[in-house]
Amino acid sequence: MLSRTADNLYWLARYVERAEYLARILEVSQRLTTLPLAYAGSSNEWDSALATAGCVHAFSEIYSQASEETVTDFLCFSAANPSSIRNCFEMARSNARAVRTALTVEMWDAINGTWIELKRFGNGATSRDEFMRFLRWVQENSLRFDGSAYRTMLRNDAYWFSRLGVYMERADNTARILDVKYHLLLPAHERIGGPLDYFQWAAILRSVSALTAYHWVYRESVKPWLIADLLILRDELPRSLASCYENLVLYLDHIARAYGRQGPAQRHARAIRARLENSRMEGIFQNGLHEFISEFITDNNRLGAAISEQYLT
């Protein structure tokens, strides 16, 4: 398979996943800002949305103030933001078009349909209602694309590269939320904890669609260190770092078996997975949650580079 084809499939999946993630972050921010100040805390939720989207720098080049209006525009519709939802779908569709014949009809229909419908939203939403509908629409379309890939693609290297894109992006996104919100999850927080923190914690869980999952797994009220445990170490949660790496190792192994050769990407992914498997939350807190997350982000980026080097260029 051409490296460029694999690259297109990988990025197609990454961009769709990223669009969905942005929609979830915005939904959560929107929800927090509707709470009375005493509940939501005094920090600017829109600053934090930008940070979790990894767009602080690009944003500050255009706007001076992070407000609901500027941030939603920047993250959803801005042409100047390469990672806006609109640009994610644009990029996903142009990647798809370049490998049209490597996609199933269902996948093409899903992404092409999304791209055509995107025009309907024009340059922004006219009301909050419409904006919320837009965010739902983004998530539904991501689900539809993911579902068509899962249900219709042949299980060969094309599928595996597309899955690698999903899980690389997902691991990066979850790690980014943890990176921005880690201070809320430190055990010391429990003592200060009041209703204020509850809403922040719930928001973190919502942004990885895990609020209900939390209750199923722990059957307890929301506790910060358990949130960290869920998002980092629990295999059961599809968006946890552990689950992402379980899948990354799985699909990299499929590729290595088909091609008859292991490489740096496989070794690197296995090393990260082993670290996640061998970690316990007490240890992570002891050595510093923030340090752990920062290191993970660096490692994850290194895996992205290794995959790219080994297969995509």
Binding site: M1, L2, R4, T5, A6, R97, T101, F161, Y259, T313
Partner: protein
């Protein structure tokens, strides 16, 4: 406008034998049925995604080419003449290109003026003295043919570089088979669906001597923004070969490789749909990002075959076209089976004089033009257009040729007012391999959908038809 020969009704209005069944069917079929099929065809095309881009029209990034559901039909004996004429012509073209980059006997014999070759921007000095595999330069030719009466087929244009349109020939047939099974049942029609197989066999036959038993073929496209990108991806898919862009290939030690997920893979034959200028930034246009640095050196070393060869433009230039009958006689010692349209070369003063005096009767074309761009149709032009063209002609006569306005034959076509005659041409595709020449019966029929229009190019409002060659 002169009366055109209608391929269905001929001169006397009674259906000619090849069209007898279609005429009978048309008389029986209810208009709403025809209209329904027509709309069905459009839905099918849209779903398959057969589109083309029109340069300079931002809204038409992806546009559908109109398809006419009534077939154009050629009898077996008519096709036999066309086919043998095509083979002869392409054979002569290959001899000619080899001669130009070799011993240049045709120039020594004074049949073609030297400056027409050497001062031609499409002449490639890099090809001088180079041996190409099996002496074949033009592996895929698209020869445009028009008809003016029952006996006379003219060659209107040779396309010896990267002719396009074959995907429409294939898709048109597929759609017709789905929409009109009852019409197919009434005829015996030569199939065209084996074209990709024939093309692949042609490529394998021309692989370099040092390629393995199963040569690797790729299709090199300029990318998604090219107007023929759909065709490129369609053909790559049908051929079962990789659709590559320049950045997917690289050259090391004069060997061509493609970047794959399993590491570099040697490439033996490149079906390139990129013009010479953009093939290799080291050899041609340095600013081109579409090509592959070093490709020409690998080609010259004989490690890769390019189809078509570099420098074939010297054969399909519209000024060289006018010498084609002489070229055929010179190399094959035979009269051309397919005639040339009489052509005035504006580079010659007495021809230019004639053209300027008769501008309102003639079709004037740019020597290097294609796609119907920059062309004048005298009888249909406004006064001021004629005047503007006259000035262009005078300032740069070598850039133009002129031909009489031909009354292109017409075929029944579905249009707004029902079934009506519209002008057509034909582009058959001729494949030349090391083993043999392959011509799939028929080709792409293009039709000028506007009443009275003679311009069949898709970029100028033309459509296409399925082309049926009756089998015996």
């Amino acid at each position: 406008m002169v009366d055109a020969f209608d391929e269905m009704t001929g001169a006397d209005g009674t259906p000619r034998p090849a069209y007898a069944q279609l005429a009978r069917w048309l008389a029986e079929v209810r208009p709403d049925v025809l209209d329904f099929r027509r709309r069905e065809a459009e839905v099918l095309f849209r779903r398959i995604g057969i589109t083309f881009a029109v340069y300079g029209d931002p809204d038409a990034q992806e546009r559908l080419i109109p398809f006419d559901v009534l077939p154009r039909i050629l009898a077996a004996d008519e096709w036999q003449i066309v086919r043998s004429g095509l083979e002869q012509r392409v054979q002569a073209i290959n001899h000619y290109i080899r001669d130009i980059y070799g011993r240049r006997e045709i120039l020594k014999a004074g049949i073609i003026p030297e400056d027409l070759v050497f001062q031609n921007p499409v002449f490639r000095p890099e090809m001088n003295g180079m041996k190409v595999p099996h002496d074949i330069y033009v592996h895929i030719a698209g020869i445009d043919i028009v008809r003016v009466d029952p006996q006379t087929f003219y060659v209107l244009e040779d396309n010896a570089r990267t002719p396009s349109g074959v995907s429409y020939m294939l898709e048109n047939r597929e759609i017709m088979l789905r929409l009109f099974p009852e019409l197919f049942a009434r005829h015996r029609i030569a199939p065209v669906e084996n074209y990709p197989d024939e093309l692949l066999a042609t490529f394998k036959s021309i692989a370099p001597a040092n390629a393995g038993a199963e040569p690797t073929v790729v299709l090199l496209t300029p990318g998604v923004y090219n107007s023929a990108y759909y065709e490129h991806s369609f053909l790559a898919d049908k051929l079962g070969v990789e659709l590559v862009e320049g950045r997917d290939l690289f050259v090391r030690d004069e060997l061509v490789y493609m970047r794959t997920t399993q590491g570099p893979k040697r490439v033996d034959v490149v079906y390139r749909r990129i013009d010479d200028d953009f093939l290799d930034p080291l050899a041609f246009r340095p600013d081109s990002a579409l090509g592959v640095p070093g490709l020409l050196s690998a080609y010259q070393a004989g490690n890769v075959t390019l189809a078509n060869a570099v420098g074939t433009g010297i054969a399909d230039d519209k000024a060289v076209y006018s010498y084609m009958p002489g070229i055929i006689k010179f190399y094959l010692g035979a009269e051309p089976i397919l005639r040339n349209v009489p052509t005035w070369r504006c580079r010659e003063p007495e021809h230019l004089g004639y053209v300027l005096d008769h501008l309102d009767e003639l079709v004037v074309k740019e020597v290097h033009g294609s796609g119907g761009y920059g062309m004048l149709i005298g009888p249909q032009a406004e006064k001021h257009t004629l005047a503007a063209f006259r000035a262009k002609l005078k300032s740069n006569p070598t850039n133009f040729i002129a031909q009489p306005t031909l009354a292109l034959s017409t075929c029944p076509t579905c249009v707004e007012e029902g079934v009506a005659p519209r002008h057509v041409d034909l582009r058959p595709f001729v494949l030349t391999g090391a083993d043999r020449v392959r011509v799939v019966p028929g080709g792409l029929t293009r039709v000028a959908l506007r009443k009275g229009s003679l311009v069949v190019n898709s970029s100028q409002g033309g459509g296409t038809k399925d082309t049926w060659v009756l089998d015996g």
